[in-house]
C-alpha cells in the first residue's frame, strides 16, 4: 500500500492571538487516485487548511505528511515537487508572459542558475495546453482577463508536476466550459495515480467533480464521505444555516444542490 499523498492529523491553527481558531482539530487524507473536495461556509477554515496542507502555514499542533514524510521536515524545494498550490489571490499585474508563468512551475526542479532545459519548456507548453491557455502563451499576464489569467496559473500548477494539487477555488473566475475542462483535467491526472484537494463553493460542481467531500464549519469537520452522504438537505442546512433542496441529476444520479429562495 503506497503512502497517502496527503495525511493531515488533528491540526490546529490560529491566525493571531485572541481570535478564534481558524482550524480547530481537523484530520484529512488524500490517497493516490482521489479527488477530494473541501466545502463549507465562509470563514470555515477551508483556505487555511489548504495552506497547511501545502506546508505554507505551520499548524500549532498536529502533523502534515506528504507521501509519508513530515511536510515541515522536507526541504522547501522537495516539498514543492510533492505539492502544487493555486491560491485565490494570484497577482493580476505580472509583466511576465503566460509561457514564462507556466515555466515558473518548473522552478522546484531547476538547478543553481534556475535555467530551464528543453524538457522543462516542453512540460510548460503541455501544461498550457492542458489548461486551454496555449493560445495565450506569448501574451503578458497583466493583459489577460480574470478567467484567462486563472487558466495560466492553473497551467503553472500543472507544470509543477507534483503528485498532489491543492487548488483554492480554482473555478471562481472560470466560465462553465472551462470549469468542466478544469475538473476533467484534474480527474484525468487522478486516474494516473495523482490526487487533488479542491476548495469549492459550487456544491453541484463539488458533487460532480469529487470522489469524496469534506465539509467544514467554524474550523471543525462537520461531515465527510461520498457526495451522496454529504450533500443532503439536513447536513447542508445545518452547515450553511439556510434551507437547500437536493435532487438527483436525472441523467447521472449525482446530487444537485439548489438554494431555496423565497419569492
Amino acid at each position: 500500500m503506497t503512502a497517502p499523498l496527503l495525511a493531515i492529523d488533528s491540526v490546529r491553527y490560529r491566525h493571531a492571538a485572541h481570535v478564534p481558531e481558524a482550524v480547530a482539530g481537523v484530520s484529512l487524507r488524500v490517497d493516490p487516485g482521489e479527488v477530494v473536495g473541501l466545502i463549507g461556509p465562509n470563514a470555515a477554515g477551508k483556505s487555511t487548511l489548504a495552506r497547511i496542507a501545502c506546508g505554507l502555514l505551520r499548524p500549532a499542533t498536529g502533523t502534515v505528511r506528504l507521501r509519508g514524510d513530515d511536510a515541515f521536515a522536507l526541504a522547501r524545494r522537495e516539498r514543492a515537487r510533492r505539492v502544487a498550490f493555486l491560491s485565490q489571490e494570484e497577482p493580476a499585474d505580472l509583466p511576465f508572459t503566460a509561457r514564462e508563468v507556466a515555466l515558473m512551475g518548473r522552478a522546484p526542479h531547476l538547478g543553481l542558475w534556475a535555467l530551464e532545459a528543453p524538457g522543462d519548456r516542453a512540460l510548460a507548453v503541455a501544461a498550457l495546453a492542458e489548461a486551454d491557455a496555449l493560445d495565450l502563451a506569448d501574451r503578458p499576464v497583466a493583459q489577460l482577463s480574470g478567467g484567462e489569467r486563472q487558466r495560466v496559473f492553473l497551467a503553472r500548477a500543472f507544470a509543477q508536476d507534483a503528485a498532489l494539487l491543492v487548488l483554492d477555488e480554482p473555478t471562481a473566475a472560470l466560465d462553465l466550459a472551462h470549469q468542466v475542462l478544469l475538473v476533467t483535467a484534474v480527474r484525468k491526472r487522478a486516474r494516473k495515480g495523482r490526487g487533488a484537494l479542491l476548495v469549492l463553493h459550487d456544491l453541484a460542481l463539488a458533487g460532480a467533480a469529487c470522489d469524496r467531500l469534506v465539509l467544514l464549519r467554524g474550523g471543525r469537520l462537520l461531515a465527510e464521505g461520498g457526495p451522496q452522504d454529504v450533500l443532503r438537505p439536513e447536513v447542508l442546512g445545518e452547515a450553511y444555516g439556510t434551507q437547500v433542496d437536493v435532487v438527483p441529476d436525472p441523467a447521472t444520479g449525482q446530487p444537485l444542490v439548489a438554494p431555496r429562495i423565497p419569492r
Partner: protein, 340 residues
C-alpha cells in the same frame, strides 16, 4: 519570449558588449586634454601617463559604479516589488549624507583623528569612509524597522526609508548651519556624485565587491522572478523568501556601499538603467541582471565622458550624478515612447 532564458541572456550580453566597447573607447579618448592612443601605447609621454594613470582608472571607476548601482537597483525593485525603488531606497543616501557631514564636522577632534587613520589604512578619504559606514548602518536600520512579525513588509520598508532620508536631510541642513560654508560646499558636491581618481587597490577591492554582488544576484535571479508572485506564491514553488530577501539585500547594499565609497551618491543610474533594460529585454531577471550590469557600466562611462567634454571650456566638471540625470532622462523618455 519563445527562447530559453539562457539564450536570451547570451543574446543580451552579446548585444551589449559592443556598446560597452564603444563607451570605453569614447571614455579613453575624450578628456580635458587631447590624447593620442597610439602614442600612449608606444610609451610616449605625457600621453602614456595620461592614459594609464588618469583615463583608464577613471573609465574603470565609472564602469564599476555604473554596474554596481544598476544591479542593486534591479535587485531592490524586485525585492520590494516596487518599480520606483532605487539603490538608495533603504535610507542609504541619507545615511551617506549624515556620515559625510559628521566626518567633516568632527575632523580635527580625537574621534576624527581615529577615523582618519582607519580610513587612510583602507586607502579612502575619511569622508568616503564615513559615508559608507553611514549608508550601510542606515540600510541595516531601515531593513530591521521594515520587518514585522518575522518578515519584511515592502511597503513598510519603503516608508521607513523615505522617512529616514527626510530625517537625514534635515540633520544635514542643521549641521550646515553650524559648519563653515566651504566645508559644507565640499561635502554637498561630493555627495552629488563625483568621479575622481582612486588608488588602484581601492578600485580592485570595489570591483571585486561589485562582481561578487552581481554574481550572487544573478544566481538569485530565478527566485527574484518568483517573488513577483507574492511571498506565498514564491514559497509554494520552493523559494525560501526570507533568505532570498536577506541575501539579495546584503548583496545589493554591498554593491551600493562600494559605489558610494568611490563616488558619493550618483543618482538615476540605478533607477533607470534597469527599466531601460526591461523595456528592451523583458522582465526576466536572469536576463535583466547581467544585462543591467553591462548597460549600467556603459552608461556611466559615457555620461562621464560627456561631462568632461561639455565642460572642458569652463575648466571645470559638473558632478557626474547631475550628468546622468541630464543625459538619462531624455534618453529614457525616448525609449519609453518608442516601446509603447
Amino acid at each position: 519570449m519563445r527562447r530559453s532564458a539562457a539564450v536570451r541572456a547570451a543574446i543580451a550580453l552579446l548585444a551589449l558588449a559592443p556598446l560597452v566597447a564603444v563607451a570605453v573607447g569614447v571614455g579613453l579618448s575624450l578628456g580635458a586634454g587631447t590624447l593620442s592612443l597610439g602614442a600612449a601605447l608606444r610609451g610616449v609621454e605625457p600621453d602614456a601617463t595620461v592614459l594609464f594613470r588618469l583615463r583608464i582608472p577613471r573609465v574603470v571607476l565609472a564602469a564599476i559604479v555604473g554596474a554596481g548601482l544598476s544591479v542593486a537597483g534591479v535587485a531592490l525593485q524586485a525585492l520590494l516589488r516596487n518599480p520606483l525603488a532605487d539603490p538608495f531606497v533603504f535610507g542609504l543616501s541619507g545615511g551617506a549624507a549624515i556620515g559625510a557631514a559628521l566626518s567633516v564636522a568632527i575632523t580635527g577632534t580625537a574621534l576624527g583623528a581615529a577615523g582618519v587613520s582607519a580610513a587612510g589604512w583602507i586607502g579612502l578619504l575619511p569622508t568616503q569612509f564615513a559615508a559608507v559606514l553611514g549608508s550601510l548602518a542606515a540600510a541595516v536600520l531601515v531593513f530591521t524597522l521594515g520587518r514585522a512579525r518575522g518578515r519584511l513588509h515592502p511597503e513598510r520598508a519603503l516608508l521607513v526609508g523615505v522617512v529616514f532620508n527626510s530625517f537625514a536631510s534635515a540633520l544635514v541642513i542643521a549641521l550646515e548651519a553650524v559648519l563653515a560654508p566651504e566645508k559644507t560646499q565640499a561635502v554637498l558636491l561630493w555627495l552629488a556624485g563625483t568621479l575622481g581618481y582612486e588608488p588602484e587597490p581601492v578600485l580592485v577591492a570595489a570591483g571585486a565587491v561589485v562582481l561578487v554582488a552581481a554574481a550572487i544576484l544573478t544566481a538569485l535571479a530565478g527566485r527574484l522572478n518568483l517573488l513577483a508572485l507574492g511571498d506565498e506564491g514564491a514559497a509554494a514553488l520552493g523559494v525560501d523568501v526570507e533568505w532570498t530577501r536577506l541575501l539579495s539585500f546584503f548583496a545589493a547594499s554591498a554593491a551600493v556601499g562600494a559605489a558610494v565609497a568611490l563616488t558619493g551618491l550618483v543618482g538615476f543610474v540605478g533607477l533607470v538603467v534597469p527599466h531601460a533594460v526591461r523595456l528592451v529585454a523583458g522582465p526576466d531577471h536572469r536576463v535583466v541582471l547581467p544585462a543591467s550590469a553591462l548597460g549600467g557600466a556603459a552608461f556611466l562611462v559615457l555620461a562621464d565622458a560627456v561631462a568632461r567634454v561639455l565642460f572642458r571650456g569652463l575648466g571645470t566638471e559638473p558632478p557626474v550624478g547631475a550628468v546622468t540625470a541630464l543625459l538619462g532622462a531624455p534618453l529614457f523618455v525616448l525609449l519609453l515612447r518608442r516601446r509603447t
